[in-house]
């Protein structure tokens, strides 16, 4: 069987999410967005968080990178508690989050400047990562000139130029058409399996079980209201995977059976 439920990973832990709760107050009631979420991410793992909209998966991602705080519980990075934005992480957004009046080059540079990286090193990294994601030739383009796929390439370059150890992605392919998203998924996987990323682990949020099984080594499935992790599944399918072959579809069916 290609799906296993026990975790037998002996590699060092990168991230530990420990009993995380996140609640909001709204008109005298407490809305529980995340309830007692715990999991670890190990080195060399590509992990997907899957769940329907409203399950709190994006909130969880924001807590992990340090843009939000848990109401209870904690997040440890390499054993140390995350307080404030974690510089070892970088985030890729669903809607690209590019600044319209800056060029491709300047959009990538902004995050590097914010982290105090000097000009020479900034230039080296920008040039390197624009080339890696296939954006050389687009340095002086503005976001409005670019297709959705090109915009998300900028999103990847901007995140990767920060050389994050843990790359976090929030539905990075879901605002792209099916052909474009297929292309970007495969290109990202090529970089990942070819060990060309500066990254030791990836955490991706998606609402698509197929996408999660295609991309990742481990799929964490969340329920909604409140958001909890209900399954932690290991995907043993060898790479490169083919979403359109029988074996792949069998695993997709297995996962659906487990969660329905």
């Amino acid at each position: 069987m290609s799906l296993q439920q026990e975790n037998t990973n002996l590699k060092p832990k990168v991230l530990e999410v420990k009993n995380v709760f996140r609640t909001y107050h709204h008109e005298d009631t407490n809305i529980v967005v995340l309830e007692d979420v715990s999991f670890d991410i190990y080195e060399d793992e590509f992990v997907c968080l899957v769940g329907p909209s409203g399950c709190g998966k994006s909130t969880l991602l924001r807590i992990i990178v340090g843009l939000d705080r848990p109401t209870r519980g904690e997040v440890l990075y390499r054993g140390k508690k995350v307080e404030g934005v974690n510089p070892k992480t970088a985030l890729v957004f669903q809607n690209f989050a590019l600044i319209p009046w800056l060029t491709v080059w300047q959009n990538v540079e902004l995050g590097l400047e914010a982290r105090g990286i000097d000009k020479k090193e900034r230039e080296r990294r920008i040039r390197y990562w624009l080339e890696k994601v296939g954006l050389d030739g687009h340095e002086n383009a503005y976001p409005r000139e670019l297709s959705g796929g090109m915009k998300q390439r900028v999103g990847f370059a901007r995140a990767l130029a920060l050389e994050p150890e843990l790359l976090c992605m929030d539905e990075p392919f879901s605002s792209l058409d099916p052909l474009t998203s297929q292309n970007l998924r495969e290109e990202l996987l090529r970089l990942w399996t070819g060990k060309e990323l500066p990254t030791v682990s990836i955490l991706m949020v998606t609402h698509s079980i197929e996408e999660a099984i295609f991309m990742s080594d481990r799929v964490l499935i969340m329920s909604t209201h409140p958001g909890r992790i209900i399954r932690d599944l290991r995907v043993e399918l060898p790479r490169p995977r083919n979403m359109r072959d029988e074996e792949f579809q069998k695993i997709v069916d297995e996962v659906y059976t487990l969660i329905v």
Partner: protein, 165 residues
């Protein structure tokens, strides 16, 4: 000029199409492909036409199949793909037209307006705009041409591209 307008297809869509066809064993029925992608036939056809124009696929009798050249492109790494795409796009009439205009101008940048005007000998204003948009997208990816939005100029990229700041 000879040749139909460039079908308005983005580079990513062309590559995505080839990757999906590859997953399907290299060949598929076009309507079936559109259905399985939940993609309108109207949206899929320009991508197929573009891939065909570049020589990456052949479409015949409702089927589409990857060519050897298409496989060569698909198997390349990011840079090899760009080079193969450049070789294929160079021969597409409209791209050739832009490259010839740049050559006639001794490699100096040309105003976007001049290219649009040249295109409008054969096309409506709207078609010319759309065509130029696609050509710039392909040209940038293939590093055949560059475009400066501030100056509204098309230029030949330098070998080692230096950023504008």
């Amino acid at each position: 000029m000879d040749g139909e307008p460039l079908p308005s297809a983005e580079v990513e869509q062309i590559i995505g199409l080839l990757e999906i066809l590859d997953d399907l064993g290299g060949k598929e029925d076009i309507p079936k492909l559109a259905r399985s992608l939940q993609f309108e036939l109207d949206d899929l056809l320009p991508v197929i036409r573009a891939a065909e124009l570049l020589g990456f696929v052949v479409a015949e009798g409702g089927d589409i199949e990857i060519t050897d050249w298409g496989y060569q492109f698909l198997r390349g790494n990011v840079q090899e793909r760009k080079e193969i795409f450049a070789r294929a796009a160079m021969d597409v009439p409209w791209m050739k037209k832009i490259l010839d205009m740049l050559k006639e101008n001794e490699g100096e940048p040309i105003p976007k307006e001049d290219v649009l005007e040249a295109f409008q000998e054969d096309l409506s204003e709207e078609e010319a705009e759309l065509l130029l948009h696609t050509a710039i997208g392909w040209g940038r990816y293939a590093e055949l041409i560059g475009y400066d939005q501030d100056e509204e100029q098309i230029f030949l990229p330098e070998e080692e591209d230096s950023p504008s700041e």
